[in-house]
Symmetry: C2
Subunit: 356 residues, 2 copies
Amino acid sequence: MRLSQIGELSLLEQIRKRFEKQSRTIIVGIGDDAAVLKQGDTNLLVTTDMMVEGIHFDLSFTTPFQLGFKLVSVNVSDIYAMGGKPSYLLLSLAMNNYTEKSFIDKFFDGVQRAIKLYGISLIGGDLSSSKSLMSLSATLIGYTKRHIQRSGARVGDKIYVTGPLGDSACGLMLLKEKIKKPVPFENLNAMQRARCKELRAKNKNSLLFALCPKLLKEGLPWKVVEPLLRRHLIPEARDPKEFVRYATAIIDISDGLLIDLSRLCDESKVGARIYIEKIPVSYELKKAASYLGISPIKLALSGGEDYELLFTAPANKKVKALHIGEITESERVIIDSSGRKKAFSAEGYQHFGIQR
Amino acid sequence: MRLSQIGELSLLEQIRKRFEKQSRTIIVGIGDDAAVLKQGDTNLLVTTDMMVEGIHFDLSFTTPFQLGFKLVSVNVSDIYAMGGKPSYLLLSLAMNNYTEKSFIDKFFDGVQRAIKLYGISLIGGDLSSSKSLMSLSATLIGYTKRHIQRSGARVGDKIYVTGPLGDSACGLMLLKEKIKKPVPFENLNAMQRARCKELRAKNKNSLLFALCPKLLKEGLPWKVVEPLLRRHLIPEARDPKEFVRYATAIIDISDGLLIDLSRLCDESKVGARIYIEKIPVSYELKKAASYLGISPIKLALSGGEDYELLFTAPANKKVKALHIGEITESERVIIDSSGRKKAFSAEGYQHFGIQR
């Protein structure tokens, strides 16, 4: 049997069973956003997340700066999702011999910008040549007095997210859609050219400008496009400090709201009810989705790579975040604007290609 | 400029300068076998090491069991090289959709065997699909009361290694030399066939037997071949506990004695004098090198992947290890059997292809 016939989730479950908690200093082992280790009077958090060329990123529309920044952010997001503070980073990079030195320099510019933003130190890593595509992996160590797992949600808790969903997936669609059909700069009118030049000047560390001619020409304004691309290419992780004292369970949305909510429910042995009308969808997503002819809500529910936090808190607490539903005993449903219920399942991205 | 024009060492040096010690909780940052973090009254050690298909391993003669075992061992070796005890492991694995489920199972058999051997727990990781070759990365956390860096060697210290060198490199040569020219089982005589069957039965978790017909036929006995292949395919890391209290500097020999001794000297700002006659070379290496028509001492000096520890200790201490030379003020020389000196430099394996 091949991995493509098993899928990531079931494979992970098997590995997890095989390496069940092996020592009493391990508070949380395989299966949450980060492992938790007892360390005197605090807890050590450790997570690792990789980005593989052709799977997680496409160098035809991703700059090395963005790659470096994003590799740090996706790991920070996992530490935040345990209620922790990120501290120490290690990188493992496999790149081929033909990689330009300037690529590495810009990659580390991105890493440096991100570690400054999050207050992290780079303490080590490994460099290897590669005979094929690029493969980047990071390990991040963090700390917390109180760790918050996926498994703490209780019936009656409210469900929250930290920001609009689907933007990243929509940004990726724009990039895939547009980058392959560039329109010559010459075909733009004078005003469009001027705007394009201005954008290029502003975005020295980015390839975003490669898109402008086409999108400007077709009438999707840059102020709509830019935040969507940004959310995909250089996402910032969401610090839970505003609500962490109330949170009963947290997970970061990396594979899509429905799949990650299902994971939280599985671990907490509960169900969930969410309201279509409460799912936060940005103005930019609505505009761009209409331009692309797709449903914004579909992207928000299962688009993936949002890197927003999804969490639960008791109903009586005042929480600064976007309320999208409640934890139930067992039913898992989405309620639409006319009050109709529809069951949901773990819909979103899985490696080893079972579904999308 | 491309990475192949810079080389790994100089690239690492640049990264290290850029991310110089950033916090006072970091005792050792980028540049040693592991990072060292202050953690109450003990020190946390963290290392990461990757294995990339086509660079570090060749699936035509490596079993998944061996891969899993070796990935753990090479990381344990880095923790041992800081004088520490390994504790917690994370894995990042990128494999393509066509990988057989049985491959993963056997890979984890190897991981499990190794973590049992070293007393480690697997606490997390990341799984990704890959559109090209396999890429495996591990992060290992360990602890030590007293960490031993590469930089502690003092003039007059004796230089030691923990075991014979060059075996792994010779094992790799045998594998590369022989696996590509298999001899049909049918061409063996009755005694050779019986021996071959017996070896296959013994080595269920291994592809070693694939070699036997050819090697048995050509007169290189299995008892010579087996330890060399084993050292390459399933190396065990060397625990420094017997001598750690005396050690002033330690490094593990992963890229070759001369390159790793040069690193130790660079960090300690000293030189070294080693004696050709004292370099430990196994009986098996001598036999196999003669069969292959190569110099055993060349393999021992710059073969790489030995995973023996190279360390220094004051001359007046009684140390259980193999004495190969002394630390000098600045000259770096090898002394041959007739007392002649020859300068040495950092000769061994570097990624991004500057030299071998």
